[in-house]
Symmetry: D3
């Protein structure tokens, strides 16, 4: 990256990576902020084949596409990848990774990741946005736990995600159970 | 909750939730503090059916009952539940969740939980006590690890719990091993 | 304090100490939560004679009294003291100190204070409430800084406090300047 | 800010505020990263009239201009202001505040500031970059302390800043002493 | 330990425990610092039989021995143990446990461990070194993840370790997969 | 420092720097631990001429000497210096700086200092001990505040220090008041 001679006419693309299992209102908050500042935002779903999730990566991609379309974010696209993040960054010509920060523990982990990615690809910046105060408590894990215990998650996720979670929890109980067994149960009495 | 018109004659009940696998001197410290301030304290054991523990939920309830009785805490009762914590709070008419704080990492997680529970049930407060300095290092996980490696845990747990841990570790080795395999081994050389 | 035999009919008084220079919506949030749970809440203004503030201690007491009255919190009283906090606690027969937590840095300082106060007076508990997400960014210092630089603080403080700050900042510029010189200027370009 | 319809042809300006007393290699790291990603970067020196610094605000502006010119960062300009940061942001039409993060304590303070600024001006985003590992220990305060005690600060600041600090410390001892008296002395035996 | 009469002629041995799966440049940094200050350093590999790693404990011991020999650290030996750490400390007559600190989250966990070990064996001190800035982002887990996704880890680990990781990842895919399935995937798009 | 060939017969000296205004039981805890592990410990009082303290640097040195003598720590000496810490380290041929850690906020500051000192003098290591749980809440600042407000500080400081604080607070009120005006008052109602 030619710093200081950035050229005002270059298209600025950023990548917003995550597991998004499922996407929450907190994720959407960060995606919207990024889409207001950068020319193009790629939401990138981690397609880790060894780790079974609540939704499959294709289901997650599909949900994010619907949520992004409903929000009218025309400069946001959604993709999925299972390789090294810096390779993807390089392939699409992105100038930065965008991450949201909620708390100190987020910060430490993300800081370590940003130093590692910078080492692997020096031209790769990591940029952090902080979530709105109203989304500070939100995480995909909390959404899954509350949903599973029958709590009301309508205010935690976009409307179309809400429908799909309810459907999965009521209709497809058997095949999904596995994805939830290793939850750290915080909403539960613990 | 009608704030500001709380009515001095209302019975104040709080719930102290946790996995208590097993109860430690640190837990007892918090329970005693709460029992000195509130009219009634319910110690609530999480009965998560998917996650196998060291002791079963009924064993944990039984142990806590003995410890509480030996300490003469007459306004403390013990219960177990597997649903959403805020539902339990509402059912028993508790005014607050009571949690102990030992360290910054506790604080962040508990803060997130308290914001989520407040969102799910606005009338539900979370109140934090800090542990005594002498109990700062204690956790159920450390007790299990030290016990399993043959270390002396007599000063970490109430006397009757100590007996039951020793018994389980010596007599029932086969069936309990599973509950310990996922320990983060910190007492071990690591 | 006779723990475990607390007696359901004892009146529970807590003290909510602070400098309250001035009281913010974040402070009021904590005071309201405490007033919903305890029988009597004493808001205690630190009257530190060596440290000159923005408002004088009597001005602060007066403002809090008005705010508390407007909020209809009948079990809340306001007082001021310049001695050791544990002595005050003992004098009024309070069972606990109540503090609000906003962030990790708050937590560490408050934790140290609670251990010290517990050492000075073993019967004295410190109980923490966490602020609502919407008040997480609020502090008296931020209110003073934003107000002084002409920013809109109407949403940060109760209405009657807002009037007094505006009045002090426009009418009484000369005598108050001193109280602001040592601000850590965060709202300012820095 | 019309999010999601950001328009790829809009010029993106960010403001990088600070006291810069003096600018360090760590500051330059952040400024260079921002200049590689955004179309225009304004480095904004806080001109707080009540707080006396080591260098005056005009001296700081002048030094930053020289350092930025030497680094060939053509899309970076330097300015100074004493008002509310969000007012400046609005006046110049910037889309975001850019800040560097070094540590957890930075993070907490900056998080609080970003929530406050977002409240004062909802269209105002705060974006964080993390410093390179090699600059993690750097701060203007450390540079001033080490310099004053005669330590070698050549690797901590740009070359032209180094000259000016040495000059100020040797030639102008009397008038500058005041600016250093309130240092938290960490390099000193303490 | 007879404090204050330590006797200048006593041999000082410290133990540097860890899982070292595999040893990184960050670990070597700490080991070298310790070997420069203490008379004898024992690097102790945790041989936890229940938890399957990437390399087996004997493989790890062997690799560390080669790395230590190549670095010419003549006062460093390597051992492996599966019991309680304080028992090992006592058996070899070590005066302290040596650990490296990288971040706040490290600190909290290590603090808790040091208090526990001090309780189990009062004569056992824990001494912390901080890593060099250039190694702050390094962990065995990151090395394994980056390696597995095909990233270049040559700068993260000593040369001979690099060879063994490449060999294991290419030749022995089937039998090692298990050791990686529970990784928290941070380098991956997440 | 010739790492890896440290030579078992070299005398190991460490420096334990601080302001010690006054020395507390927490400081003594760290000094005793260091004296049990290293051949020689130099307690170094910061003699910052610009910052007026509660006790003068010579008074602090004198008090530490008495406390160290009473504790029978024959390998501990006390000194005072006003220059750069790394210069002192080099002059006395010490192998490391020793610091105590109580909390996360300590850690971050000390980490920054250790990186800076390492940069200024690469052979200079910083070694951290953690305080005993019972001393975690202690700081010189808390001792001064509690003492000044008339609280009992007998358990916070060594006996001879206790006498001198009482004497200073009762007899010499006028000349010392200045040293206390900038306290962050946490024991006070605040």
């Amino acid at each position: 990256m030619n710093r200081g001679a950035n050229g005002g006419n270059r298209m600025k693309t950023v990548v917003c990576p995550g597991s998004f299992d499922p996407i929450t209102n907190g994720h959407m908050d960060i995606i919207q902020r990024a889409s207001g500042i950068f020319d193009r935002v790629i939401v990138l779903v981690a397609a880790n084949q060894e780790k079974r999730g609540f939704f499959t990566p294709p289901e997650r991609v599909e949900m994010i596409r619907r949520v992004v379309a409903e929000a009218g974010l025309q400069n946001v696209t959604v993709d999925s990848d299972e390789g090294l993040l810096v390779n993807y960054i390089q392939r699409v010509g992105a100038c930065a990774i965008v991450k949201g920060l909620r708390a100190v523990s987020d910060f430490e982990y993300e800081f370590q990741m940003s130093l590692t990615n910078h080492k692997l690809l020096p031209a790769c910046e990591t940029i952090f946005f902080t979530t709105s105060a109203r989304n500070m408590y939100l995480s995909s894990s909390i959404v899954r736990q509350v949903g599973k215990l029958g709590g009301d998650i309508a205010e935690f996720v976009p409307a179309c995600v809400y429908q799909q979670i309810r459907q999965k929890l009521t209709g497809g109980k058997e095949q999904n159970e596995g994805g939830l067994t290793d939850e750290k149960s915080g909403i539960h009495p613990q």
